[in-house]
């Protein structure tokens, strides 16, 4: 494996793991007031397009498909948690 390939895989792996601390934090503090839901919706859209890109490539590009699938799930989880806790906070203020 070349230096460049290792670099690419490392970069991909790191960007993939980056969403974990945000989802974990939201789940732990049960609040995502300051988190932008737009960011995660837009990011989910882009990961979805990357997955299609990877699948449509010939041969199928697993290094693109796999990390983006994981990030898509994390990103959607973040959107769901954000909606959930924003709603809970709103109800609590009533």
């Amino acid at each position: 494996m070349t230096f460049l390939k290792i670099l690419g895989y490392t970069a991909g792996f790191i960007s993939m793991t980056s969403f974990i601390p945000q989802v974990y934090k939201t789940w732990k503090v049960k609040s995502a007031k300051d988190v932008s839901i737009q960011m995660f919706i837009i990011y989910s859209t882009s990961t979805f397009l990357w997955i299609v890109y990877g699948i449509k490539s010939d041969p199928v590009q697993y290094p693109i498909c796999v990390p983006n699938t994981i990030v898509l799930f994390l990103s959607i989880a973040q959107v769901i948690l954000k909606i959930k806790y924003d709603r809970a906070e709103k109800n609590a203020q009533k």
Copy 2:
């Protein structure tokens, strides 16, 4: 330009813009309590590695370098804003 290339550029462009709403929100509400600083530090690291990857590629891959440079700046801006507003909030509580 092939369908696949257009798809790749679209996906890249969308992921690039995704960080704008978060930075804007933090700057506007002047709070980033619920935002994970780890996420943005890790993401900055990955964009930096992608930039190196793009530069070290032969020929230089501008579609990788350019969007990642923009996201690197946005991601660092988010880290700085987070530190700034967390500190301001802490001082206000004293």
